[in-house]
């Protein structure tokens, strides 16, 4: 089992519904977010290219946050999901410093918080909140080890990229281009 998320940048309209769904589902404190929309513009007027991306923790295979955690609060759970155990986290900030994606933050209660791929929903057989609300259905979630899953098929048939692959983290959120 290896969970992965695939996001179609050609279908995303940047409505931020995934952001709000996550904040609601996971009770994110006001002013914080576990996922966000990035708008990347390249080229020069009038030949501009626009790419919209819904970004979050990349649940890396080679996760620097897990390596540098001094207590083992940051760990890799079943399916390659990177999780934080609040009762083990001392709030030292090492994982935040180590993340090339700035995907972690200090929760007002002190511990470090981040995207969990909605682990609690997965256990019930549901999709992550962001995926399930997307109005353009540009987000896909599934098991990479299963060759017939949506995500495996999309990565097989489409061109894609990951964010900052040069950081060597082996991210597991893929962007179709």
């Amino acid at each position: 089992m290896r969970y992965a998320m695939v996001i179609d940048t050609l279908k995303c309209v940047g409505c931020s519904d995934c952001v709000v769904a996550c904040q609601t589902e996971n009770n994110i404190p006001h002013g914080y977010c576990r996922d966000w929309i990035t708008e990347a513009v390249s080229g020069s007027y009038p030949n501009l290219e626009l790419e919209l991306r819904s970004e979050r923790c990349n649940h890396c295979d080679n996760a620097p946050c897990v390596r540098c955690c001094p207590t083992g609060a940051s760990h890799i759970a079943e399916g390659g999901i990177v999780l934080v155990t609040p009762d083990k986290c001392i709030g030292c900030g090492a994982c935040i410093e180590s993340c090339p994606y700035d995907a972690r933050y200090q929760h007002p209660d002190g511990y470090v918080d981040k995207c969990t791929f909605c682990y609690h929903r997965l256990k019930k057989g549901q999709l992550p909140a962001c995926v399930s609300v997307c109005p353009t259905k540009c987000m896909y979630f599934g098991d990479l080890d299963d060759p017939n899953s949506d995500v495996s098929q999309l990565l097989k048939n489409r061109t894609y990229k990951t964010l900052a692959p040069e950081a060597g983290t082996k991210p597991h959120v893929f962007y179709l281009t």
Partner: protein, 319 residues
């Protein structure tokens, strides 16, 4: 042109627009840890070499500094935690890949040893307080402990040599282990912080020493360490120049960017070159008040930690 924006209005405290996770307590700790490591290293080394009488400050008198420095440093570290009631979780595990875990364990062993070291020399280094220690004599347990520590000093010294080196190196590795912060992510930061720590330790010994000969010897040691430190800094900057785009951008903060004056003016010029020149002049027999180069080295070391911690958090991968 390439431009990236968060359109969902992301503005997380301490994360956006640039990290502010580690504040002044971390910089202060990195400095105090290095200083304590330096003094402990010299104390243990010269004790084992049998130079106790020649360099009484390094071995005995200055031994009061590391326990104080480490205590303040540890308080600063805990103060910067956002979930401090769970600090004990550090000691439920040892994570070999986490520099912070190494640091936590090294501190747990080194700090009590530094207290024992200072305690064992208390009577010798501060004989005037002997009369005030009458209570001491009444507590037979304490006197026996003191005797036990004094008779085992050699073993403490043997332990302190590797421990102080690990402590000094780890203050640098703590930063350099993060590949997400290109300014920190170079392997030379460990040796560089160790050298800087030893240099500030030597400077502190010079400040406290009352013996001309000892000050002279430690001036020479400090001069050698400053030369090594300069070489390491040059290598660090060369490494950035030869690095990838993210490292080039990181280096621009120090060379030509907002930290240029602080780095070249205060750390390199006032913290290294001026004290090195003064110490050289002194070696040729001219009179220089020893306080000046020693204080400059210590302030330079402190500023260096502040600059590296602040500037490093401004650097990141862009994608």
């Amino acid at each position: 042109m390439q431009e990236e924006l968060f359109t969902s209005g992301r503005n997380i405290p301490n994360i956006d627009p640039s990290l502010q996770i580690w504040h002044w307590p971390i910089s202060l700790y990195l400095f105090l840890g290095g200083l304590a490591a330096g003094i402990l290293f010299f104390a243990a080394l010269f004790y084992l070499l049998g130079k106790e009488k020649e360099y009484p400050t390094a071995v005995k008198t200055a031994s009061i500094v590391p326990p104080i420095a480490l205590s303040i440093g540890i308080m600063a570290l805990v103060y910067d935690l956002t979930h401090p009631l769970y600090t004990w979780q550090l000691y439920t595990t040892f994570r070999i890949e986490s520099p912070m875990s190494w640091g936590a364990w090294v501190l747990l062993i080194t700090t009590p040893l530094s207290f024992l070291w200072a305690f064992s020399f208390y009577r010798e280094s501060y004989p005037k307080t002997e009369s005030k220690l009458k209570l001491f004599k009444k507590l037979k347990f304490l006197a026996r402990t003191e005797h036990f520590i004094i008779s085992n000093r050699k073993y403490i010294a043997y332990a302190l040599i590797p421990l102080s080196i690990i402590l000094g190196v780890y203050t640098g590795i703590l930063l350099s282990a993060f590949n997400a912060r290109p300014l920190w992510n170079n392997a030379i930061l460990g040796p560089l912080f160790l050298t800087s720590g030893l240099s500030t330790g030597a400077a502190a010994i010079i400040l406290l020493s009352k013996s001309r000969n000892e000050r002279r010897v430690f001036s020479k040691i400090d001069l050698a360490l400053i030369v090594i430190e300069m070489a390491l800094i040059i290598h660090m900057i060369m490494g950035y120049y030869a690095g990838s785009q993210v490292q080039l951008e990181a280096m621009e903060l120090l060379v030509g960017g907002e930290f240029t004056l602080m780095f070249f003016g205060f750390v390199i010029l006032l913290g290294l070159l001026v004290p090195a020149t003064l110490e050289t002049i002194e070696l040729f027999g001219f009179k220089v008040p020893v306080v000046v180069p020693a204080v400059l080295v210590i302030i330079g070391g402190l500023l260096f930690r502040f600059i590296m911690v602040e500037a490093g958090q401004l650097t990141r991968y862009l994608y």
